[in-house]
């Protein structure tokens, strides 16, 4: 489990473009952060398809 640490959208996109992460890996980190911080009571519902949707984006990204 690791902590998401992106300072901006560009920060994340550079990491993806450089192959340091993927949409799926980043999504997983953020889902874990949501789960870990349940006590803050900020989230009403988590998208059960988030990882699947991120993975589809990664496939699309590779193709283009």
């Amino acid at each position: 489990m690791s902590f998401p640490h992106y300072a901006s959208i560009a920060d994340l996109q550079h990491a993806i473009a450089a192959g340091k992460t993927t949409a799926k890996a980043a999504t997983k980190q953020y889902l874990e952060a949501i789960d870990r911080q349940k006590g803050l009571n900020a989230v009403t519902a988590v998208n059960p398809k988030a990882l699947e949707e991120a993975e589809a984006l990664d496939v699309r990204f590779v193709r283009t």
Binding site: I9, A23, Y30, A42, V43, A50, E53
Partner: protein, 421 residues
Amino acid sequence: MHGLPIIIKDQIETAGLPTAYGSKACKDYTPSKDATLVTRLREAGAVILGKSTMPDWAASWFSTSSLSQTTKHPIDGSRDPGGSSSGSGTAVAADMALAAIGGDTGGSIRLPCSFCGLVGVRVTPGRISRDGMSCLVATQDTPGPMTKTVEDAAKILDVLVGYDEADDFTSINALTGRTSAPHKNHFQNAIKQPSLKGKRLGVLRQVFGTHTGINSILTQTLQDLESAGCDLIDVEIPDLPHLLNHTSVYILRSKSDINNFLASREGLKHLTIETLHAEGTYHKSLDLINALVKGPSNYHMSPHFGAAVESISHFQRTVASLFAKFNLDAMVYPTCQVLAPKTKDVLEMRWSSLDFPTNTVIGSQLLWTAVSVPVGKCRDDEWPEDPELPVGLEILGVPLSEERILNLAAGVEALVGGRAK
């Protein structure tokens, strides 16, 4: 925005994901269709992580919800993150998402952004489609970005701003006078070279309040702006409390607006705000719900409606006159006169929705555009042992001047640098 992990305020509909608008009456409701803005985000490559907490029907400056109770402030767990886009504020500040979409009627994007140290944009109502969003005040409601940086807000605006047949308020986009489709990086381009030199900012001193820490941060920020070449002009809106009182339309129309929304959804049309109120199905601290159910059933027939419309025009002319007289690019002031409140105070109803000292209502009731940008952190006068809390600067612009106020916000962001983090 490939791969952007984003959270959506539960006021906004997401297909297949429970959407409850902050109300326990809707806890089992799942829309079949995405709001237009959600569709646009998905098409742009964002990943919807989930939905965030809000008070019932967005009717509060705080997180108090019959569905989710209260949400914790990301820095100080004894405080509220503000509302009504409460969970969105906490989520981005606590790195549960890289950005969030909130909803702003009287200040519900800007207030949690100010309290949580984020950038929040209230666009002129209609620049972004309200399709698929529950309604509180139809003329004032707008969704918008809640982000860590001004550039991120601009990126989101580039995806979301534009005409949508499903919401005719988006026809306002034609009033920019441009006849060609905007460049896909239109807002990002507008902030690329932030320029403060020679900018004329009206400083609305009368709403600075008395909080020592907030005033210290504002003084520093204004000094920095002056050093960077801004012209600061002290301005005053005559009779402001009176103007704000007379241009507040929640009692006049929120009941109709909420009920019209409920009636438009197959799964919700059995509900009305009056029956929810009568049953006690709303968080007990929501004085605004208690007040708005007493409003007229049809505001068009109310003798107060004409007066309110005229007051709004008068308010617009009054503030626009200051912009005209002093050639202002924007007005600036603290987003709120206090820091993120203690949850205990919120639950004990220390403030009513009419007297909580948020300055966000100015931009909302003018029907103009405003952005809140973090400018520092300070201790709370009442609780000096508590952790330092974020302070937001609100930058108010005339209708459709988002590009100008975002450019200013980018300039402020660069100027303030690490101080706001």
